[in-house]
Amino acid sequence: MIVLENTPSAVLLLAVGVLCGAGVYLLLDRPLTRVLLGIVLLSNGANLMLLVAGGRAGASPVVGNAPADVRMSDPLAQAMILTAIVITLALTSFVLALAYRSWQLHGHDEVADDEEDRRVARQAADNAPAYEDSDAAETGETLDEEAATVYDQVVERAERLRAQRERDERDQHGPQGGGAR
C-alpha cells in the first residue's frame, strides 16, 4: 500500500495566509471595488486551502495511467476548486456590475450608511440626555450629538436632492405635467 504523505507545503500555507490577510484588509474598506478585490483574494486563499487539503501533487488521476509506485493526485479537491472558481467568477461579475451601477448613480462606489439607522440615532439623541463619554473629552461633542449632526446633514442633502428632482421634473413636463400631479 502506498503511504499517504499529507504534510502540507509551507509555501502554499504561507500563500493562503497572505491572500486571506490581504483579502480581509481590503474587505474592511469602503469603496465597493476594493471590497471586491478583497473578496477575490479571499476566495483564492480559500481555493488554495482546498488544494492543500487534497494532499501533495502526484500522478494524473486516471486509473491505469499512473505508475504503480506513484500516488495519484486527489481529483476531488480540484473538482471542488473548479466549481468554487466558477461560482466566484459569476458573483464577482455581479459585484462589479453593482459597483458600476453605483458609480453611474453617485459618481463613486462607496457604500453609504443606512438613512433609517441615522434616523433612529437622531431619535435617541433627541430623547436621551447627553452623557459624558470618552469622545467628549477630545472633541467637546458627545457621540449622540455627532450622530445628530450626521443625520441632519443626510436629511439636508436628501431634501436638497428631492427639491432638485422636483425642479427637474417641472422643467421636463412643463406646466401641464405639473398641473396633473
Binding site: 500500500m1 503511504v3 499517504l4 499529507n6 502540507p8 474587505l27 465597493l32 471590497v35 473578496i39 479571499l42 476566495s43 486563499g45 480559500a46 481555493n47 486551502m49 482546498l50 492543500v52 487539503a53 487534497g54 476531488l76 479537491a77 471542488m80 466549481t83 468554487a84 461560482i87 459569476a90 458573483l91 455581479f94 459585484v95 453593482l98 459597483a99 451601477r101 453605483s102 448613480l105 453617485h106 457604500v111 453609504a112 443606512d114 433609517e116 439607522d117 434616523r119 433612529v120 431619535q123 428632482r165 421634473e169
Partner: protein, 534 residues
C-alpha cells in the same frame, strides 16, 4: 436497463424540486418575450414541485429516500437525501414560494416606473428577469434542503445567493444598489467561510459526504473538531442572521419589492437555520460547550432583535427585526440538543416560514393601499380596508404567540423543554422567550394601532379597492398559517419523528449507505491507510 417500474419509484420525486425549477428557469429565460407563457411555466413548475414535495413528505415518513445522483453510490457520488426534516422544509417552502409567485403575478407592475415617482409598489419588477431568477432561487433552496453532501450544500447556497442578489437589486435604484451591496458582500463572506470550513473538513477527514462525516468526525482530535464546528456555525450563523452577525438583515431586506422581501424573510434565513440544525444533530451531536454558547447567542438574538423592532417606525423594518428576533427561538430549540427541543425548533421553523411571509405580503398590500410603509404616514386602514386589517391582524397575533395559534404552540414546546432542561441558561432563555413574545406583541400592536386605528392622514386614498389578485394569494398564505394551527397535532407529531430520526444518527447514515456503514464492518480502506503505516 430501464423499466417503467424503476422510472416511477418514489425516488423519482427526489430530484424534481431541484430539476423542475431549473428547467423552468431556462425555459422562461428563453421565452422572455412572452410574459403569459412565462407565468404559466413558472406556476406549473412550482405547483408540481410543491406536489412532489408533499409526496416526498409522505414517503419520507417511512424512512429517508435517497438518490445517488448520476448513479454513483454515496461516498463517491453526491447523494440527495429526503428525510422527514428535508421533506417537511421542502413542502412548506414550496407552498410559500407558490403563494408569493401568485402574489407577484397579481402585482402586475408596469415596467419603467421609477419608485420615487409615485409607483405604488416601491419600484418596478422587470418581469422578464423576475421569473427565471425566482425559479433559480427555488431550485437553490431545494438543493440546500435535499443535499447529503457538504460541498453540494455550498453550491446550493451559492445558487440561492446569486438569485437573491439579483432579486434584491431588481431595477437598480440607488437604495437597492446600496442594500444589495451590503447584502452580497456579507453573504459572499459567509460563503467563503463555509468554503474554508469545507477545505479544513476535507483535510481532516478526507470526505465531504455528510453521512460519512457523521462517522468520521467523532474519531478526529476534539480540538480540531471544535474548530471545524465553530467555523461551520459561523458561516451558517451569518446566513441565519444570529445576533452578532444579524446587522445586515434589517438593512437590506426592506428595500426590495414586497414579494421578494417576503420570500427572503420566509426562506433564506431558514435555510441557514436548517443547516445549523442538520450539522448540530448529524455531524456534531453531544457537545455541551457549543450548545451553551448557542443558547447565549439565541437569548441575545431574541432580545436585541425585538428591541430593534420596538424602535422602528417603518413596518417593513419592524418586521425585519422581528424576523431576526424569532430566529433566536429556533436556535434555542437546536441548542437544547434534545429530541423534544429539536422537534419544537422544527415546528417553529415551519410556523415562522408561513407567518413571516404572510406578514410581509400583507405589508405589501398595506403599502399598496396606504401608499407608504412608514407608520407616520399610515392610518385609518381598519375602516378603509377591513379585509386588509384582518389579514394583518391574524398573522401578527400568530407571530406574537397568542393562543391558540401555531406560534403559541411552538413557543410552548420550546419553553416546556427549556424548563425540563433546567440549567441556568435554559431558564434565562425561558424568561427571554416570554419577554420577547410580549415585546413582539407590543411591536405588532403598535404597528396595528398606527396603521389601522389612528386617524387617517391626508396621504391615504379614500376609495381604492384592493385588487383581488393580490388579496387572494396573501389570504391563502394567511389561511395556510391558520391551517398549521388546525393540523398542529399531526404536524407536531411529524416534527417529533423528524427530530428523532435526525438525532439518532444511524437512520440517516444507514439510508445513505444501505447494508451497513463503514464503522459497522470495522474496516475501512481510507482509515487504515492513515493509521496503519508508520
Amino acid at each position: 436497463m430501464i423499466d417503467t417500474a424503476a422510472l416511477w419509484s418514489v425516488q423519482t420525486l427526489v430530484p424534481l424540486p431541484v430539476l423542475l425549477p431549473l428547467f423552468a428557469a431556462g425555459l422562461t429565460l428563453a421565452l422572455h418575450r412572452y410574459a403569459n407563457v412565462q407565468r404559466v411555466i413558472s406556476v406549473t413548475a412550482l405547483s408540481v414541485t410543491t406536489a412532489s414535495s408533499a409526496g416526498l413528505m409522505a414517503a419520507a415518513d417511512n424512512g429517508p429516500v435517497v438518490v445517488d445522483v448520476g448513479g454513483w453510490a454515496a461516498p463517491v457520488g453526491i447523494a440527495l437525501v429526503a428525510d422527514r426534516l428535508s421533506a417537511l422544509m421542502l413542502t412548506v417552502s414550496g407552498v410559500m414560494l407558490l403563494c408569493v409567485l401568485l402574489y407577484s403575478l397579481g402585482q402586475g407592475i408596469p415596467e419603467g416606473e421609477d419608485p420615487r415617482e409615485g409607483g405604488r409598489f416601491g419600484g418596478t419588477i422587470p418581469v422578464a428577469i423576475f421569473h427565471p431568477t425566482y425559479l433559480v432561487l427555488a431550485a437553490g433552496v431545494a438543493n440546500a434542503f435535499l443535499t447529503g453532501d457538504l460541498f453540494n450544500l455550498y453550491v446550493g447556497f451559492e445558487i440561492l445567493l446569486a438569485a437573491s442578489a439579483v432579486l434584491l437589486t431588481l431595477g437598480g435604484t440607488a437604495e437597492r444598489v446600496r442594500a444589495g451591496s451590503v447584502y452580497i458582500v456579507v453573504t459572499l463572506m459567509s460563503s467563503l467561510l463555509f468554503l474554508t470550513a469545507i477545505a479544513l473538513i476535507y483535510a481532516a477527514t478526507g470526505t465531504v459526504n455528510m453521512a460519512q462525516l457523521a462517522e468520521r468526525l467523532p474519531d478526529i482530535d476534539p480540538t480540531v473538531r471544535l474548530a471545524l464546528q465553530a467555523l461551520l456555525l459561523l458561516a451558517f450563523a451569518i446566513k441565519a442572521a444570529i445576533f452578532p452577525l444579524a446587522a445586515w438583515l434589517p438593512d437590506s431586506y426592506p428595500t426590495a419589492p414586497a414579494p421578494v422581501t417576503a420570500v427572503f424573510a420566509g426562506l433564506l434565513t431558514k435555510v441557514g437555520v436548517y443547516s445549523i440544525l442538520r450539522t448540530q444533530t448529524l455531524l456534531f451531536p453531544d457537545d455541551d460547550a457549543v450548545d451553551r454558547v448557542l443558547m447565549a447567542l439565541a437569548l441575545a438574538t431574541m432580545l436585541v432583535g425585538i428591541l430593534g423592532a420596538v424602535a422602528q417606525n417603518d413596518v417593513k423594518r419592524l418586521l425585519s427585526f422581528t424576523l431576526v428576533s424569532h430566529i433566536g427561538y429556533m436556535i434555542f430549540g437546536v441548542a437544547l440538543a434534545s429530541e423534544a427541543g429539536t422537534a419544537a425548533a422544527i415546528f417553529y421553523v415551519v410556523h415562522h416560514i408561513s407567518v413571516q411571509t404572510a406578514l410581509f405580503l400583507v405589508v405589501g398590500l398595506v403599502e399598496w393601499r396606504g401608499g407608504s410603509t412608514s407608520l407616520d404616514r399610515l392610518g385609518g386602514l381598519a375602516r378603509l380596508a377591513p379585509v386588509l386589517a384582518v389579514l394583518f391582524f391574524v398573522p401578527a397575533m400568530n407571530l406574537a404567540g397568542i393562543p391558540p395559534f401555531s406560534g403559541f404552540l411552538g413557543k410552548v414546546g420550546l419553553i416546556t423543554e427549556g424548563v425540563r432542561d433546567g440549567s441556568g441558561l435554559a431558564w434565562a432563555l425561558v424568561v427571554g422567550s416570554v419577554v420577547t413574545s410580549l415585546l413582539t406583541l407590543y411591536a405588532v400592536v403598535k404597528a396595528w394601532n398606527k396603521a389601522f386605528w389612528q386617524e387617517a392622514p391626508s396621504g391615504v386614498a379614500r376609495d381604492l379597492a384592493l385588487p383581488r389578485s393580490l388579496v387572494l394569494p396573501a389570504g391563502a398564505l394567511v389561511a395556510f398559517g391558520l391551517a398549521l394551527t388546525v393540523v398542529a397535532g399531526p404536524l407536531y407529531g411529524y416534527a417529533e419523528r423528524a427530530a428523532r430520526t435526525s438525532m439518532d444518527g444511524f437512520t440517516y447514515v444507514n439510508a445513505v449507505y444501505p447494508g451497513g456503514s463503514e464503522r459497522g464492518t470495522g474496516e475501512s480502506v481510507e482509515v487504515s491507510e492513515d493509521e496503519g503505516q508508520p
